[in-house]
Symmetry: C2
Subunit: 350 residues, 2 copies
C-alpha cells in the first residue's frame, strides 16, 4: 500500500507498525465474520474488502488502513498498560467497529454516487444498488451481532455505544447530503456535520477500547472526546488534501473536492469569511467548475483565509484531543500508540 510506504520513514514509523500489527490481529477475525454472510451478500462484501475480484476469484486485498480497529486496541492498551490481555479481548470490538465503518462506506457510495473506493470500482457499480444496500444492512447487523454474542462484561455497553454512534453517523451523512443543495451553510453547521460523520466513529472506537479495558464512565467519555477531536483534525486535513492534493500522492488528486463543488470545511470557512475572495469563490461555485476554475477556486480559498484557518483549527483540535486523552490516561507515556495514530492521521500534508 502506497500509504504505508509513505509513512515508514521518520515519525510515522510507530503508527505504521501499529497499523500493520492491527491488520495482522484483526483481519483474520474480520474476514471470518464477513465470510459467514449468506448467499451473494458474502460475495459483495468480499469484493468490497478487496479479498475477492468481482467474479469471486481471490484478490491481493486492500481492506483499508485499519485506523479505527487500531484505535480500539490502542485505547484498551493505554488503559491497561503492558497487560496484553486487554487488547486481545478487544479484538471483537475492533472488528465490530470496522464492520460498522464499512457498512457506512457501502451506503455512502450509493448515496453519493461515488464510483471509486480504495483504487477499485465501488460495490454498487459492480453489483447494483440493491445488493450494495442489502449487503451494507447485513454488515451492520453483523457488527452488532458480534458484540451481542460476546460474553465480555463490556459488550452490552459497547453495543449501546456503537448503535448510538451509527445513528450519529446517519445524521452526519444526512446533513452532508442536505448541505450540497442548500445555498448557505454556516461554519458551525459544517463542523457539527463533520463531527457526526467522521469524529463520532473515531471517538466510539476509542470509547469501546476503554470499555473493554474496564474503564469507568469518565475515562470512557474522555477517550471518546479524544477520538472525536482527533477525528475532526483528520477531517480538516483530509479536506485540505481534497483541494491541494497529498504530497505523498496517496489520497485524492488535487482539486477533487472543488470539481465536485463540495462544501468542505476550508471552503465553507472561505465562503463565510466576508472577504472579496470568498465572494469570488461563491461565484465560481455557482456554476460548473471547468478548466482554470479549479485553480482559481483553490487560490480563492487560500486568499479568503480558508487554508490557514483549516490548518490552525486542525492543530487546535489536536491540542484538545491530547488534553482529553490526558484526562483518561494521566501518564501520557502509556498512550504512545494513540498519540502516534492521531499524529499519523493528521500529518499527511506536512
Amino acid at each position: 500500500m502506497a500509504t504505508t510506504e509513505a509513512i515508514t520513514t521518520g515519525e510515522g514509523q510507530e503508527a505504521a507498525a501499529l497499523l500493520e500489527r492491527t491488520r495482522e490481529t484483526v483481519n483474520p477475525e474480520l474476514r471470518r465474520t464477513v465470510e459467514s454472510l449468506p448467499g451473494s451478500m458474502r460475495r459483495v462484501a468480499m469484493y468490497h474488502f478487496g479479498w475477492e475480484q468481482a467474479d469471486g476469484t481471490p484478490a491481493a486485498g486492500n481492506a483499508g488502513k485499519a485506523i479505527r480497529p487500531a484505535l480500539v486496541l490502542a485505547a484498551a492498551q493505554a488503559l491497561r498498560g503492558q497487560d496484553g490481555g486487554a487488547a486481545d479481548e478487544a479484538v471483537r470490538a475492533a472488528v465490530a467497529v470496522e464492520l460498522a465503518h464499512n457498512f457506512t462506506l457501502l451506503h455512502d457510495d450509493v448515496i453519493d454516487k461515488d464510483a471509486r473506493r480504495r483504487g477499485r470500482a465501488t460495490a454498487w457499480t459492480v453489483f447494483g444498488i440493491p445488493d450494495a444496500i442489502i449487503t451494507g444492512d447485513a454488515m451492520m447487523a453483523l457488527a452488532l451481532r458480534l458484540l451481542a454474542q460476546d460474553p465480555h462484561p463490556a459488550a452490552a455497553a459497547a453495543s449501546a455505544r456503537l448503535s448510538s454512534c451509527v445513528i450519529e453517523l446517519c445524521a452526519g451523512q444526512q446533513a452532508d447530503c442536505a448541505f450540497e443543495v442548500r445555498p448557505h451553510v454556516s461554519l458551525d453547521e459544517c463542523l457539527a456535520m463533520a463531527t457526526a460523520k467522521t469524529g463520532a466513529l473515531l471517538g466510539c472506537a476509542c470509547a469501546l477500547g476503554a470499555l473493554y479495558a474496564g474503564a469507568g464512565p469518565d475515562e470512557v467519555d474522555a477517550m471518546d472526546a479524544f477520538g472525536r477531536e482527533a477525528g475532526l483534525a483528520f477531517q480538516l486535513i483530509d479536506d485540505l488534501i481534497g483541494i491541494w492534493g497529498d504530497p505523498g500522492h496517496t489520497g485524492k488528486p488535487a482539486g477533487a473536492d472543488l470539481i465536485a463543488r463540495k462544501k468542505s470545511l476550508p471552503v465553507v470557512a472561505a465562503l463565510t469569511s466576508g472577504t472579496a475572495a470568498g465572494e469570488e469563490l461563491a461565484a465560481l461555485y455557482a456554476g460548473p467548475m471547468t478548466g482554470d476554475d479549479v485553480h482559481r477556486a483553490a487560490e480563492a480559498v487560500d486568499r479568503a483565509g480558508g487554508r490557514d484557518w483549516a490548518q490552525a483549527h486542525a492543530a487546535d483540535r489536536m491540542g484538545r484531543a491530547v488534553q482529553q486523552l490526558s484526562r483518561a490516561v494521566p501518564d501520557l507515556g502509556a498512550a504512545g500508540g494513540l498519540l502516534a495514530l492521531a499524529e499519523f492521521v493528521t500529518r499527511r500534508t506536512r
Copy 2:
C-alpha cells in the same frame, strides 16, 4: 382501519382485540423512540409510521397492524401464564422488532421501487432515496440500541437473535431480487426465500417473547419455529391475495402480483408443475402482462394446481406451527393469544 373492521366479526374478534391492545401498549414507546431520531431522519420516520404528513403536520396515523409486536407480547404471556409482568417487560423487545420490521420496509420499498405503502406514498418517493436509506439505517440501529440499553437479563440474547434475523431478512430480500431476473426458480428455493424474508422475523418475534419470559433454549427454538411456520402460511395466503384479491378488500387488488410478474409461491408452483397450464403461464410471464393476460394467467395458475397447492400447503404449515407451539407450551389453552394471531394472519381469504 379497514382491516380491524373486517375482522371484528366472528372468530377474528380475539385477534383484533389483542392487536388493538398491543398498539395501545407498544405505540407510545415506539413513537417516543422514533421521535428521538435526530434531524430530518425523525421527519422521514414520523411520515413512514403515518404520524405526520410529509410537511410535518400531525396525521391520523396508521403505523401498521402491529402483528410482530403482538407476537412478542403473546409469546411472553403464553410462557408466563397470567403473570402480566412478562408482557410488560417485553414491551421494549416488541418495539425493537417493530423498528426492525419498518427498517426493512423502508429499504425494500427503495429496492423494489414500490410507490405505495399503507395507503400513502412511500418515504423514498416523498423524501428521496438517500433519506430513505439513511433513515432505515438509523431505525435498525435504534432497534438494537433499545435492546443494548435494556437491563433485562434476556436483552443480550434477544439482541443476538434480532441481529441474526436481520441478516436472514437481508438474505431473503437479496434472493427475492435475484429470482426476478432468473429464468428458472425451483419451489424449494422459493420456499427458502419466503422463510427468510417473512418467516424469520415472525419467528424472531416469538423467540424474543420467550426469551423475555425466561424460557430455556428448547422452548425459545420451538417458539421461533412456530412463528416461522405461521409466517410461511401467512406468506402463502398473501400470495393468493396477490392473485385473486382479498374478499375484505383490505390488501392488494386482485392481479397485482401477476401484473408485476412476481414469482410468488403459487406462481412458482404452477410454473414448475410440468403441466400444460404451467407452460401457458410461462409464456404469459415471458412478455408484459396486458389486458386479458392477467385473467388468463390467474386461470393458468389455478389449472396448473398452484392455487390448491398454496391453500393445502398453508394449512400444512399451520399444522406444523401448532405442533411446534405445543413443544413450547404443552397446555395450548395458555397460548390462546398466539393461536388467535396465527389464525388471523392466515385466514384473510376464507
